[in-house]
């Protein structure tokens, strides 16, 4: 058995994916920069 998907569902999923990717990519960049900031912390 299957469920119907609507354009609204597809739209919401697309927005959700975009938001997820934005947040996670920002996290990745933040951790990259954090590794350099560790130098300041270790001094």
């Amino acid at each position: 058995m299957t469920q119907q998907k609507t354009d609204h569902d597809i739209g919401n999923r697309g927005k959700g994916v975009r938001l997820t990717v934005t947040i996670l990519a920002s996290l990745a960049v933040a951790f990259f920069l954090l590794s350099f900031l560790q130098i300041v912390a270790m001094k």
């Binding site: 299957t2 597809i10 999923r13 697309g14 994916v17 997820t20 996670l24 590794s35 560790q38 130098i39």
Partner: protein
């Protein structure tokens, strides 16, 4: 939109694209990309394994018989880099790609084209890395940890660093894809606490990857700038400190080893309930244990650095934090055993590897607990005791889980049953010879044999010979695995049913075997009693 992006402009709803290049190089299908990752991982497993055979061949007897010391060091370095980044991690990504969308009722991954890019970066990165063996000056030979200043003396450092950056980018993109898929593309009714444990383990592992792969990138970038651009991050004469590299590297390195084991925990939590015909004991505890282990993995990194001269307070903190990780891990081991307790077990090949995992990973965990004790570690550090520990958790841990998963899901992927006789032959040979290979290394370490040495004191000769014999036979027995896979994929006449295993529960077992090119294009209706964990109440 990413969801609509799975519906290509071209009409591919009737199956796979016809051309080889279109299907395999331009794939946007999670099953095909999963297959690519798994074939790549198997290939790298044999390449990394051949480096291990070279190492064990040289260590068979004291004295230098077969190779120059620099080549031996290249072998140890590349064995680790290839196995970690080329075999174990891509194998888990391949298993995740294949199974996660089917397990949650999704049509594909959230970002199918990025999925393809994530894979195809890897063959390029490893060609680059392995090509350093043939460059003037040779390949990396200072250990996979690339500690400066030794690693800065390698001529091919730039190529190694670039290869590692590429692998990191591949992993980060893959992790973003997995989180986006699990959080956004679950079929309606597939609540988070109804998902298979394997999906939970990958969700948590993906967060670890996003947090720590960029830190590795930072560390190796600093190595690059120290060598080529005149910085002094790790050069005391310029105001830096080599120990700083160790802090940054192991801040990546410790979560990395959990990245390599958490999906294994997820696999075992799928296999054991199926062959015990009993739901996993303590589903929520298993999920929270994985999350606890992941969280704790961020605050234990300096247990890799106990002998560098850390302040006493730091050593004590990291010792206790490391011992604390044993608690949620123990919860998991107890729950796997409790799942089997009083169950109706059968011992097909996936179950054999899963049970071996529980026992042998626990042995690896015990040696890890010994290493966690600071004063004890002052003796064990950089000896073969450490080598024995991590090979128990990685080989009889991660690799056995990957093998178990392969036997478990191969009928779903190929539509054919593998040969149970040869599967059991592979199992018994693997489990016997892996212990012959690695158990003596505990004693070598306790007796004082250092790591990463091509020649050793004659006092260590007999255990090294035993270990090498185990190594050769363990390596040879993996050829059985290769034969089983090829036979099952192309030659087996024994067709698999949809459910394959009597006790199997979950959405992935509701699709035909082999799984069609597209599954769950339209979301399935979720019936709680069809799921392995559908009846968990808040």
């Amino acid at each position: 939109m990413s969801y609509a992006a799975t519906h290509d402009q071209h009409d591919d709803h009737h199956g796979a694209p016809k051309g080889f290049f279109q299907r395999w190089c331009m794939s946007t299908n999670h099953k095909d990309i999963g297959t690519l990752y798994l074939i790549f991982a198997l290939t790298m497993f044999f390449i990394g394994g051949s480096f291990a055979m070279a190492i064990r061949a040289e260590l068979f007897r004291p004295g230098m018989q077969l190779m120059q010391p620099y080549f031996f060091n290249e072998m140890t370095t590349l064995h680790a880099l290839v196995m970690i980044f080329g075999a174990v991690m891509p194998a888990f990504v391949g298993l995740g790609n294949w199974m996660i969308p089917m397990m949650i009722g999704a049509p594909d991954m959230a970002l199918p084209r990025m999925n393809n890019l994530s894979f195809w970066i890897l063959p390029f990165a490893f060609t680059l890395l392995l090509s350093t063996l043939f460059m003037p000056g040779g390949g990396p030979a200072g250990g996979w940890t690339m500690l400066p200043p030794l690693s800065l003396q390698t001529g091919s450092l730039a190529y190694t660093v670039f290869a590692i950056h590429l692998m990191g980018i591949s992993s980060i993109m893959g992790a973003i894809n997995i989180i986006a898929t699990i959080l956004n593309l679950r079929a309606p009714g597939m609540e988070l606490l109804k998902m298979p444990v394997f999906v939970w383990s990958w969700l948590i592992t993906a967060f670890l990857l996003i947090a720590v792969m960029p830190v590795l990138a930072g560390a190796v970038t600093m190595l690059l700038t120290d060598k080529y651009f005149g910085t002094s991050f790790f050069n005391a004469a310029g105001g830096g400190d080599p120990v700083l590299y160790q802090h940054i590297f192991w801040f990546f390195g410790h979560p990395e080893v959990y990245i390599m084991i958490l999906p294994a925990f997820g696999i075992i939590s799928e296999v054991i309930p199926t062959f015990a015909r009993k739901p996993i004991f303590g589903y929520k505890a298993m999920v929270f244990a994985i999350a606890s282990i992941a969280f704790l993995s961020f605050i234990v990194w300096a247990h890799h650095m106990f002998t560098v001269g850390l302040p006493l307070g730091a050593e004590i903190f990291f010792m206790y934090a490391t011992m604390l990780i044993a608690v949620p891990t123990g919860v998991k081991v107890f729950n796997w055993v409790a799942t089997m307790w009083g169950s109706s077990m059968t011992f097909e090949t996936p179950m054999l590897f899963a049970i071996a995992f529980v026992i042998l990973f626990t042995i690896g965990g015990f040696s890890g607990l010994m290493l966690a004790l600071v004063p004890a570690d002052f003796q064990y550090h950089d000896t073969y005791f450490v080598v024995a520990h991590f090979h128990y958790v990685l080989v009889t841990g991660a690799i056995f889980a990957i093998i178990s998963a392969t036997y478990y899901w191969l009928p779903k992927w190929t539509g054919n049953m593998y040969s149970e006789f040869w599967g059991k032959m592979h199992f018994w040979n693997s489990v016997i010879w892996v212990n012959v290979l690695f158990f003596p290394q505990h004693f070598l370490g306790l007796a004082g044999m250092p790591r990463r040495i091509p020649d050793y004191n004659v006092a260590f000769a007999s255990f090294n010979m035993v270990s090498s014999i185990g190594g050769f036979l363990f390596g040879a027995s993996q050829l059985i695995f290769l034969g089983v896979i090829i036979h099952a994929a192309f030659f087996s006449k024994n067709k698999a049913t949809d459910r394959v295993w009597e006790g199997a529960k979950g959405l992935e077992w509701t699709v035909p075997s082999p799984a069609p090119y597209h599954t769950f294009d339209v979301p399935p209706v979720i019936h709680d009693d069809e799921l392995a964990h559908g009846n968990v109440h808040a």
